[in-house]
Each structure stands twice: as structure tokens, then as C-alpha cells.
Amino acid sequence: MKPDQLLRPMPDGLYCPLGDFHIDPVRPVERALITHGHSDHARAGHGFVLATQQTLDIMALRYGPEFCGSAQPARYGERLDVGGVSVSFHPAGHVLGSAQIAVEANGLRIVVSGDYKRDSDPTCAPYEPVACDVFITEATFGLPVFHHPDPRAEIEKLLTSIEQFPERSHLVGAYSLGKAQRVIRLLRDCGYDRPIHIHGSLAKLCDYYVSQGIDLGDLRPATLEKSDPSAFRGAIVVGPPSAFQDRWARRFNEPLVAFASGWMMVRQRAKQGGVELPLVISDHCDWPELTETIRELAPAEVWVTHGREEALVRWCELSGIPARPLYLVGYEDEGD
């Protein structure tokens, strides 16, 4: 059986003709398998959704309980049958509930990694390598320039800045699912035990993380009845990056804008975004992690999707591993 017969890229996303289902479809479909809760992967309006319980919970939080016709939770490692095709979910280490999906029929196994990372992250289950014939990898940071440093060292930069500029409110831009909670947890792990203020749009997801046993410490809303800038003097405020360019940010005292993202590795990105303190913290693999993972899995073939496909394909060629780009559209790396 050719890999194309098991999974193929279609305008709606990856499609399995044998089992008649899509993986992370970008438009509403009959049957969808979802790797994780970021909005470019998990969309509302599918007939049936199979995903981890946490991903289903997150989708319900974001889209409301009616986000799909019917849903079925998948446990990590459990083998399920979807239309005659065997599928199983395995931790991807990206965000809470994130999974790789292994699809298997007639002795051929393809692993769809979704988004994943190898770096340690106390807010989700760690990535597990799954042997396969075809490995479909993301390539968000698929260029040799991307090296994510130790996230704790990045958090130390933030803590140093708060010591240097104790009068300024430090606004930390972090996407609302995954990154925000990871940044808060990292701050706690680095010994920061003062209250952390959060933008309203993070509240539900932070509460959910806490309900799943991830302690985030003292969180307070970054809102006041009466606007009093001095209330946030020297405080850490976490919110979605877009909020800091908005009028919302005016309540803060001499705000110092930080941004936690893998893109902050590139100086020009930070400069253009008006970021004063770039924090290189990513929920995706950097270049060494991508290449290391492919070496470790040693699949017969690699398919590369969303990101810098051409560089990773080139690397595979140089390493003697057949590879091709999938050119799937519609994924905007909300998570980084």
C-alpha cells in the first residue's frame, strides 16, 4: 500500500480515504481527528470529533458545548478503529492535551505529529517518539537559525528587568492557550511568587489548567473598577500580544512590553513589534530538535508541513531520507 492511499493532503486538510476522516481540517467536515486545541487546528462545526479529553474540553471552552455534532475522547496509547483504520493518540509535548496521531492500515503506519516540541514543559505530557513508516512533521521553526534557549534563562531576563525597572509594569505577550500558562508556571518555578495579573481572555483557560492539576499560583485579573495605573507598578501582566497594542494597555504604568515566542529569536521581529524585552520561549521544535527527532525515528519517508518546508526537506535529502513538502494551507501557528 502506498502512503498516499492512507493519507493525502486535500484542500480541507489531511484526509484518510480508507477511514473517511480528516486530521485537523481547516473547514467543517463529517469526521475530524484533532491533534490539539489551537484554533488553526481545532475548528468548530465538525460532525464528529475524536480527540483527547483535554483537547475536547478546550474546544468546548473556546467554542461552547455545541462545537460539534458528537465527540469521542481518545486516551493516549489506546488503539481505536475509525472506519476500519487503526488510530492512536500519543503525547506531543506542545500544549495541554496535544497529541500526535498514528494512523495504521495494512501494515503501514503514518504518524501525524501535529505541533510538537521536545523541550521539557511542566504544563503538558512530554513528547513520546512513535516508530513509523512515514513521519509528518511540522516545520514552524524549520530553519537552521532557530535555536530555542533554556526557557528558564529567558524568564530570568524578565525577572532581572523587574529588578532594574521596578516602577514599570511588565506586560508579557503570550498566546492564550499553552504559552501563557507555561510562562506563568515557569515564573513560579523560578521562584516568582507575587500575584500575576492576567488579561480577561486568559481566565477560562488558566482555570482549566489549574483544574487539570497545574498550579499557577496567585492569578488576578488585570482589570480595575477605576483605572489607577499605580496599581500595576512593577507587576507582571500576562495577556495576548494583540492586547498590548490596544487601548486596553493604557491602564498600565510605563509599560514595558515583553513577548514570549520562538519568533523573538529574530531581532528584527522584536524591533518591528515594538517589543522591548524578547523572551525566546517556544512550544514548537527548534531546528536541532526537528533534525534530532527525524534521526531518532528514522522513518522511511518524511512529509513536511506548515512552516519552512524547503529547508527541512533539503536537510532530509542531505541525510539520505526521502522527504517532500505537503503545502497544507490554513495553519497560522497561533501557538507561538
Binding site: P144, Q164, L256, P288, W315
Partner: protein, 547 residues
Amino acid sequence: MQAFAKLLDRLVLTPSRNGKLKLLADYFRDTPDPDRGYGLATIAGTLDLASVKPAMLRELTLERMDEVLFRYSYDYIGDLAETIALVWDQDRKGLEPGAEQPHLGSVVTLMNALGRTEVRSAVRDLLDRLDPSARFAFLKLVTGGLRIGVSARLAKQALADFGAKDISEIETLWHGLKPPYEPLFAWLEDRGEKPVLATPAIFHSVMLANPVGDGDLDQLDPADFAAEWKWDGIRVQLSRLGETRRLYSRSGDDISAAFPDVLAAITFEGVVDGELLVGGTARSNSPTRTFSDLQQRLNRKTVTSRMLDEYPAFVRAYDLLFDGELDIRKEGFTTRRDRLAGIVEQAPRDRFDLSPLVPFASWDQLDSLRSDPPDPVIEGVMIKRLDSSYQAGRMKGPWFKWKRDPFNVDAVLMYAQRGHGKRSSYYSDFTFGVWMEGPEGEVLVPVGKAYFGFTDAELEILDRFVRNNTVDRFGPVRAVRAEPGFGFVLEIAFEGLNRSTRHKSGVAMRFPRISRLRQDKLPREADRLETLIALAEARQSSETGAL
């Protein structure tokens, strides 16, 4: 190297002056000698470092990585030093934990001691031992491409803050000291004596004037003061002692290299305060040329003979600080000026003249003189107490400056950019334009950019207009609706026009600021480019060939 690299990373992204000062002062406090001294030299532009060709760096990189992958990376990043800093560790996650990185001081010493054949392997070895951020700093240092956004003046202010000294003391010492500045730091930390300078012709901090404010002159007797024209060049300090000749800007930057014509003409010994201008002196009966002509000569490391011919520089003398080796700063203005007149009389007539006094009997008379000066390169008058000694800094009382009124035009808001720091959630940097006849009819062409002049309440209004009327976005910049019948008219005050090759209009305003919001006007009522040029021309001499 890490401490310095971290400092650079922060400085380039920190817009506020106070923020930069704090970062610099903390760096000076936390970094040991000689590293901090070399860091200071790097920022102030006084570091001499053996340079490395970009081609060699590229070769070193391609020794360890595929050329295609390198090209993808370089295309993406767009800066060679940054690309190499990031791709150098191909598979490695980083340095061995605990591995000590070379210090800035040892890197500088090493690079300057290398023979030509040793450079390649030494650079490779250094790149291996530095982390990406330090690698970037190192590569920028050796390729000479470091842009930090910190002036030498700001670095000196940070030293002053760090050591709780007055900046004028640091400016005076500055040109007598060399990297890594260990005696300077010892003094700033109260561990050592104030350095004693052996070098002659050092910079002495200049005396500055306050603008005339409302009612400032009411209680003052005109008979106690002298007035002279305020010329539109740059304020300089010229000194010669023995064979040492120097030309400094008013903040103490050594600009000697760009003005060999002026330097060679110094026949006297002493320290003169004056205005650096381009054109002919009054003594040679030829006109003084405009600031935009002077600009052709500024910010250059070297100067061609053609430049020297086309834009001859001279000094219009205001004051004398030292007569030979004799410090006369404690003397009164009149006494100093008499001595100055004697010196200028003997100096080459094409390179030196004496700033003439402006006789006046009353403040009202001076006011009308200021508003209608006899030369287009005059931007107002200076008022100096006859008995004033020469004191560094900006004292209130002895000296005043009284500028002529600015130009005013109505322009149309075209683009807005978000500000920084306190203003990061406001669109607070505004680009505005005036009307011009284009090939396809009337178009707005940008003539300037301003980010001050308005109140907080006016900023709210402008910000709201920008957010509600955005028609396009380019990164942090928004284009706003600007049509004859709809848009936002701003009254702009400015000091003059410079030629500009960057603006489509061919002109750029000097010191533009927003003086009023003209919500009562429609864009079609805003001014035209011809009006703007005519305004400025009315005050410019036609023979200078400027605008």
C-alpha cells in the same frame, strides 16, 4: 562578552533615554575592568579593533554547513552577522553547561594581537566558545556594523549617573583618556583620584543659554547686556596647544577629522568657542551658506578635496576660554571678547571671523531685529551679560537665546506609527504631507514627521482618528484616509527646510512639531509644496544656491 552582549540586546530595543541610562549605569556597576571599559569604548566609538572581512566569515560558516541551508537562513534573517551567529551551532543545543566564555577585554586584546595568518582560526575558535547573543555582538564588532542607538554623549551621561558626577567633568576628561578607562572608573567609584590629563587641547564643557521665556527680560536692563546673532551652523570648540589641534562639537565629540581645512588654518594658541559654518567669512566679503550646505560636511570620517572646495568651512568666533595656556573663563564677557577680537584679527581671514555685536537700546528694538534678521542664516539673537564669566552648563541668567518665530503650515496627516514605552498603545508618531501637482493630478507628498507638540488630550483625538480611519498597514505603520474632502489637518511649526533625497517632495522639515489640530479645516485647504518652499526661500539668500 555575555554581559556586553546582553547590554546590546537590551539597548537596541529600549527606546527611552532613561531606560538606556539605567541599563548602561547597571552595566558599568556590575561588569569588572577592563571589560566595562572596552564596552564603553565600543558604545562611544573609541575602540580600535582589527576588522574581519564578511567574506571570510561566510567561508568559515560554509565549512560547517550546507550552502543551500545557509542561503535559506540568510534570506530569512537578512543580516549576515545575525545569520552566522544563529546558524553557527548546527546540531548543538548550546555551549557545554559551565563552560566559561571569553571576556570582552580578552577578545579585544586577542584580536589586536593576531597576525594576518592567525585570524581565521582565532575567529573560528571564538565563535565556538561564544553563545549566539555574544557571537552576534562579536561579529558586529569585528565587521564594524554595530548600531546601538546610543550616542557618546548618552554614554557619558550614564557614567555621570553611575559615579554621581557632573557630566561636564566627564566631558572635560574624555579626550585625555583611552580605553579601557580604568583610572576613570576608579575615580567614578571613589577608589582613585580624579585622572590628571597630560594631553593638551582637551574639551572644556561649553556654556549654554536658556530660551527667553515670558517676562524674563522685563526686570533686566538692556545696558547690562550685549547681543549677537545666533547663526544656524553647529556650535564648536576649537583648540590648539603646541602642535595639537582639535575641533569638538558642543557635546565633546571630536570632529577634527572631517574639518582639516579649519584645523590647518589655526595660527593662534588657545581655546575658541564659535559657530562652524560653510561659505565665506564676513572678512572675505562672501556670504554665509545654509545649514543644509553645512550638513554635506557633517558626520563624515574623512573628506574629499572636492568637498573641501565646494563646501569650505570656517568658524565664526563667539568666545575665548583660553588665551594660549591662560584660563580666562573667570573674566567677564567684555574682557574675553576683546582678547578674542585680537586673536581673530591675526587669524586667516577666509577661515575665521568675529561674530558681530548687534547694537540695541531696548528689548522691543531687539525683538524686531530678531524677527527680521539681515542674513538668512541667522536664527535669532543671543543675549549675554557683559560681566558674565564662562560657566559650563545651562545657567539661568547670564545668557539667553531668543529665536525668531518658526514657520507655520497646514499639512495633512498621512501615516501614523505607534510610539514606545508610555505611548506604546498610542499612534503617536505622525507623518504629514502637503499638496503637489503630480503627473496624475494633485497628490499629497510627505514633508516631515513629528511626535510632539500636542497635549495628552490631543493625542487621544489623533489616536482615535488613526484607529478609525486606517486604510493600509505596513508593520507598525498605518496609512490613514487623506482625501481632499476627508482627513485630518495639522498645523505644523518648523525651523526651516533641508533638501531630502528620501522624501518624494525633495524637502524635509527641520524640528517639525504639531502646533495645533485643525479639525476646522478640510485637507483641500491645507498648504501646497510651493507655498512651503516659498516661505523658506523668503528667508534664504538666493545666492547661496540653497532652497
